[in-house]
């Protein structure tokens, strides 16, 4: 039998009552909770005010970024994908603040459009699904750059985008749920390892 996880409110209440009178500890938990909540609410309010406004990538490039993110971590029967997880927002925000990301990701997206224009006569978003798969299959693997040097910038770009898309997805609410992480909670006792054969 696992101990009951207790609610945040109850824990904070018990903490504040149990701590020594006159100690700074007495005031901390409730104020901290209030602060954490205000922080979160401020961010949510920002997000709701008319949706996310991209800070670095322009309309066409932002849509390309969204498309690539969703291709890297797609929605499937088990969960939503990278767009629902907010990965493009996360990547755009960090890129807007980081000149190195601007070169690698900003430059990388333009590289991809140029490559598609050379090969198929149109930018990535206007390509057919088959063409998109063809170009992505080239830049999604290091071994292709080893045989064709002209792909090496694309491979480096895609590798970075793959990492950051994974970051954005697996740190989102749906991504964390998909992984099955259980925790960040208040337990009265740690239950230890559940009975599992072989462990």
């Amino acid at each position: 039998m696992l101990p009951d996880p207790v609610t945040r409110r109850n824990v904070l209440k018990s903490l504040s009552m149990g701590a020594a009178v006159g100690s700074v500890l007495r005031a901390i938990p409730l104020e901290a909770a209030a602060y954490a909540h205000s922080l979160i609410q401020a961010e949510k309010a920002d997000a709701k005010a008319g949706g996310y406004v991209p800070k670095y990538f322009t309309g066409h490039l932002y849509r390309t970024l969204q498309s690539l993110c969703e291709t890297i971590i797609p929605a499937d029967a088990d969960s939503g994908g990278a767009i629902e997880a907010g990965a493009p927002e996360f990547i755009d925000l960090l890129t807007s603040e980081n000149p190195e990301y601007q070169l690698k990701l900003g430059g990388g997206l333009v590289w991809l459009d140029s490559m598609c224009t050379d090969r198929y006569g149109r930018v990535y978003l206007d390509c057919t699904p088959q063409q998109r798969k063809e170009i992505l299959d080239l830049i999604a693997y290091r071994k292709n750059a080893a045989t064709d040097e002209s792909l090496s910038q694309g491979v480096a770009f895609f590798s970075m985008l793959r990492n950051m898309t994974s970051d954005g997805f697996f740190t989102s609410k749906i991504g964390i749920q998909y992984l099955g992480y259980i925790g960040n909670s208040y337990l009265l006792e740690f239950p230890g390892c559940p009975p599992v054969p072989g462990v």
Partner: protein, 567 residues
């Protein structure tokens, strides 16, 4: 004109630094009746604003890595409690040609205790008698038996969980019950049993039962973020509040100590410091001084306190201030454990640190090297974070559902191992004042010299072999540590483990040590040092618990002196 404190308020004691050593001294001295002023180079800690406990990554726009992703893999991500930095703007340090040394410094109330791993290991009897045991280094001027009652006091007050095990030279303490092992720890414990490697509950300063007005841990694994309920130990939340409650404690924040000023009677009379807010020089007068600024900062302060009586730095007639600098030997390796792939989803958080560890299990045996190391390990189904899937992405490559599923099946299946071993002091590792560089407060900075010895290289190599054998015995495969391959590179950089110490060492001989057996300067009787600078050896046990025990002992001695009117 500097404000040289015309009112000349004279405190009983001025403590420099608010970390493990300074905080302990503040509690003991104020509770003993003395009026204490403390200088802290950073701001006051404000847990309700500064701590991010229980915040999910998706509740922050930067998902925890901060503006421009600068906190990725850093000690300074958005979640962590204010702790310190590898580089501080305007406060450089230098390294001599050919020396690699990194210096982690804290500028916040509580110092590095806000973020440390809470690993609380007593030094053993042999650690105090290094030279007598194997002929290398030096003996401490005190024995384990003399420090043991202070370990008892510290553990009883701060709360440390653990178990009585009778491991040779890894003494048991006053323990709270340990938490149950996680699945990762169960697997590794079995492998260690088969290899005859001792694997026992760890010893961490985290409460598993309420103690001294603090509640028990609620097992969110986020100690590093700072604990709003103070169920874990930090100086800022556990040592400073009782000092403040006495009404005899004053803290001056954002005060960067520059120099200890000598008076006419052969005693120190003031600390000269820079008030960071106004960039002006101020002075605080006191009858005694406890320097606890962290080992290298304490050495720097003494070296920068030059006077006609002490042209090479205060209390440095021996010339050994800055010498005998050591850090722990570090090495790490990680493994993938396929049996964890099928694990049902369950709460794996626990306390913010390991529940099991391996103390040095070959004490007294004939080994390839002198002294020993302990092993820390961790991994499993923790809260996902930025960077957590870089390895899977690099290995699997591609994109789409198969990548997503690979991340899912790999989640929580890795366990990392880190060794922490003893370095023997050598004459090539030390710090000194760089004659050419000052920081933005006008204070001359430190220059580091560093070289690992043969013994340390062999030890790191042994760690690698041990980690590999544990991983394989547990059914895992080695996935790599840092700098795998070249054995000489499997050792950490100097300073990297953040156990730098020994720079103002204690001893019975004033020619070869700075402090006497009470951590009081041989040369200046009202100057004490209470961080890890006085340590004569740096055994594999993390230094913080011993800093506190030693500071407690030093403070009681200081109280006695005050009662006798010696101040």
């Amino acid at each position: 004109m500097p404000n040289l404190n015309p009112s000349r308020k004279v405190y009983d004691v001025c403590i420099i630094g608010s970390g493990a050593g300074g905080g302990t001294a503040a509690k003991v001295l104020t509770e003993g009746g003395l009026n204490v002023v403390m200088l802290e180079a950073g701001p006051r800690l404000n847990p309700d604003k500064d701590f991010k406990e229980h915040v999910w990554p998706y509740e922050l726009a930067h998902r925890g890595v901060g503006v421009a992703g600068g906190g990725r893999f850093q000690f300074n991500d958005e979640f962590l409690a204010p702790n310190g930095f590898w580089e501080i703007e305007g406060e450089p340090y230098t390294t001599a040609p050919g020396s690699n040394f990194r210096w982690f410094r804290s500028r916040i109330e509580g110092g590095r205790t806000n973020h440390w791993g809470r690993i609380s290991l007593r030094f053993g009897p042999a650690d105090f008698r290094a030279r007598s045991t194997d002929g290398m280094g030096d003996d401490w001027p005190i024995t384990y038996g003399e420090l043991s009652p202070y370990y008892d006091k510290v553990e009883s007050y701060i709360g440390v969980f653990g178990t009585r095990e009778n491991v040779p030279n890894s003494p048991d303490g006053v323990f709270l019950p340990p938490p149950k092992p996680r699945c990762t720890e169960t697997i590794i414990k079995k492998a260690c049993d088969s290899l005859h490697i001792t694997c026992i509950p760890s010893r961490l300063a985290i409460l598993t039962q309420p103690l001294n007005g603090r509640p028990a841990c609620h097992y969110c694994a986020q100690c590093g973020r700072g604990c709003i309920s103070a169920a874990n130990f930090s100086s800022s939340q556990v040592m400073i509040p009782p000092a403040q409650a006495t009404g005899r404690f004053t803290m001056i924040a954002n005060a960067m100590a520059r120099e200890i000023v000598m008076g006419k009677s052969g005693k120190a009379e003031a600390v000269s410091y820079i008030d960071k807010a106004t960039r002006s020089e101020q002075r605080i007068y006191a009858k005694a001084f406890v320097i606890a600024a962290s080992a290298c900062e304490s050495a720097r302060l003494l070296l920068n306190s030059r006077s006609p009586a002490f042209p090479d730095g205060l209390a440095n007639s021996s010339g050994v201030v800055g010498r005998y600098l050591t850090d722990s030997v570090g090495s790490s390796l990680a493994g993938h454990f396929p049996q964890l792939e099928g694990m049902p989803a369950h709460n794996h958080d626990g306390v913010g640190g390991m529940h099991m560890y391996m103390p040095w299990w070959r004490f007294g045996q004939k080994n390839e090297f002198l002294r020993g190391y302990h092993i820390e390990f961790g991994g499993g189904r923790g809260m996902p974070g930025v960077g957590g899937f870089d390895g899977v992405c690099a290995e699997h490559e591609g994109y789409g559902t198969s990548l997503k599923q690979k991340c899912h099946s790999s989640y929580g299946t890795h366990i990392g191992f880190s060794g922490r071993g003893e370095m023997i002091p050598n004459e090539k590792s030390y710090c000194e004042i760089d004659p050419n560089v000052v920081d933005k407060w006008g204070i001359p900075v430190l220059r580091f010299h560093w070289q690992w010895g043969e013994n340390e290289i062999k030890m790191a190599q042994d760690m690698q072999e041990t980690f590999r054998s544990i991983i394989e015995a547990a059914g895992g495969t080695v996935t790599g540590g840092r700098r795998r391959g070249a054995t000489s590179n499997s050792i950490s950089e100097g300073g990297e483990i953040i156990h730098e110490l020994g720079t103002v060492r204690m001893g019975n001989d004033p020619k070869t040590s700075v402090l006497n057996r009470n951590c009081q300067a041989h040369d200046v009787r009202n100057v004490f040092v209470a961080d890890a600078a006085p340590f004569v050896t740096n055994p594999d046990k993390n230094p913080t618990l011993t800093i506190m025990a030693l500071s407690w002992r030093t403070s009681e001695y200081l109280l006695e002196q005050a009662k006798k009117g010696e101040l």
